[in-house]
């Protein structure tokens, strides 16, 4: 269940995972983008961690909004406004219905699609968020489902983002933003927040 503490714990675990895997994220981005996704995300989560540790919070909304602003202002590039929009939408939703994780993640997913105009199958992080929302709704989110969603971006041809410039050459590589979104949901499980 999402509480102030569990949300912070979740985001801290996410930060750790991004930091640990930033070179891998950049490597994925080097193949079909511009090679900075790891650096972008690491910069973002570092700022998020700092913002979260410098303040005390009395609502999940508050936590998510603080995290959103940090990510938004420090990631930059394409993933900055996407993660920023996701967390802002999640914060809003948490204000209305704080206990339902599925509807909160659904709001985040909608926020990303509203901002980035990508559809499932376009080889973007949407391809992880959408299946995760569906799994949550059916109460069966698992590490395997997340892993599969990330892996399933490999054969896709990119239609949005930098990778789309590659056309067919984008096929055969995992989408970096999907990988970092995968980390977000893996840590949701690892932190026992489900």
């Amino acid at each position: 269940m999402l509480t102030v503490e569990s949300t912070i714990k979740w985001l801290n675990l996410f930060s750790e995972k991004v930091e640990k895997n930033k070179d891998y994220l950049s490597e994925l981005d080097q193949a079909i983008g511009d090679g900075d996704h790891g650096a972008n995300m690491a910069r973002g989560v570092a700022a998020m961690n700092e913002a979260l540790s410098n303040k005390s919070f009395d609502s999940i909304q508050d936590v998510l909004k603080t995290a959103a602003m940090a990510l938004l202002s420090k990631i930059g590039g394409a993933s900055g406004p996407l993660y920023g929009s996701a967390l802002i939408a999640m914060a809003k939703q948490a204000g209305e219905d704080r206990s339902d994780l599925a509807s909160i993640i659904q709001a985040g997913s909608d926020g990303i699609q509203k901002r980035g105009k990508a559809e499932p199958g376009d080889k973007t992080m949407v391809d992880v968020w959408v299946p995760v929302v569906n799994a949550l709704k059916n109460n069966k989110l698992s590490a395997d489902i997340i892993k599969k969603a990330v892996q399933d971006t490999e054969p896709l041809k990119a239609k949005k983002g930098r990778a789309s410039y590659l056309g067919d050459r984008s096929i055969g590589h995992i989408d970096p933003g999907s990988m970092s979104s995968g980390y977000l949901f893996e840590t949701l499980i690892e932190g026992d927040t489900l």
């Binding site: 900075d36 930059g76 394409a78 789309s164």
Partner: protein, 329 residues
Amino acid sequence: MKKIINKPEDVVDQMIDGLIFGSEDLIERIPGTNVILNKQLSKGKVALVSGGGSGHEPTHAGFVGPGMLAAAVCGQVFTSPAPDQILEAIKQADQGAGVLLVIKNYSGDIMNFEMAEELAAMDEIEVDHIVVDDDIAVEDSTYTAGRRGVAGTILVHKIIGAAAESGLSLKELKALADQVIPSIKTIGVALSAGTVPESGKPGFELEDNEMEYGVGIHGEPGYRREPIKPSREIAEELTDQLRKAFQWKAGDCYGILVNGLGATPLMEQYIFANDVAQLLKSEQIELPFRKIGSYMTSLDMAGLSLTLIQLKDDHWLDWLNAPARTTAW
């Protein structure tokens, strides 16, 4: 990687300070941000704000000053700046007549600038934006991110900047840009990749005798790799692409920008310009506006790009030639 820098993570910050040091009479840095602001903003006129990832120097900050940009927002190298920085630029640039954002067509830039625009609207600042997508190397399609914004952007800065200075409203400027931007097309060729300081490796690898047509200003892949050709043949290829895109006829009137990508010296740019000039002359294209130099670079990428703008309106030429006081125009 051999570069004259300090810590890779500090390049943007220190570069901005160096730029300001060189042009303190013209520009200043908004404290605590990576925003460069024109010191002599024109009261009551629309303010032009641009920006994007760094690594394209002198773009965009070098074009801040009377007659061009009111402010430029510098992101990390090849990474769009975040909305809060853009918002700060909008706030400080606004002189009561609204702000027009000039965005290069990259998903990241579009999203960050649009978010800033939404935030500014909440602060009741009138803001609109235009998107430059002049790189014809990439197939245009509404189903993809579309064409990239490259060197032609500086012609947009110049024309819209001069038009804003002449007193056009935000609406009028936006309408003008809707005419101007589709009239600008660019195509480039790379001989070697630039190296992002934080990555330390070239963005792509070319053989010692290879070049690649259509590479983007962040090292995005182009449309063809082949052994290096004489300047004249490169000029033919790029001119062919532009001819196809413009479908020009004898007597048409264009402006031309030959742009170095960072590590290619003026000697080569001039030789290439000469070859293009001869080709266009033989097709009886008029070229009343001409510019040669490294204006939209890609770090230390070797290569150059060729931009043409069809001058559909006499005002455009006047605005291109209007005085501007900036570091780099």
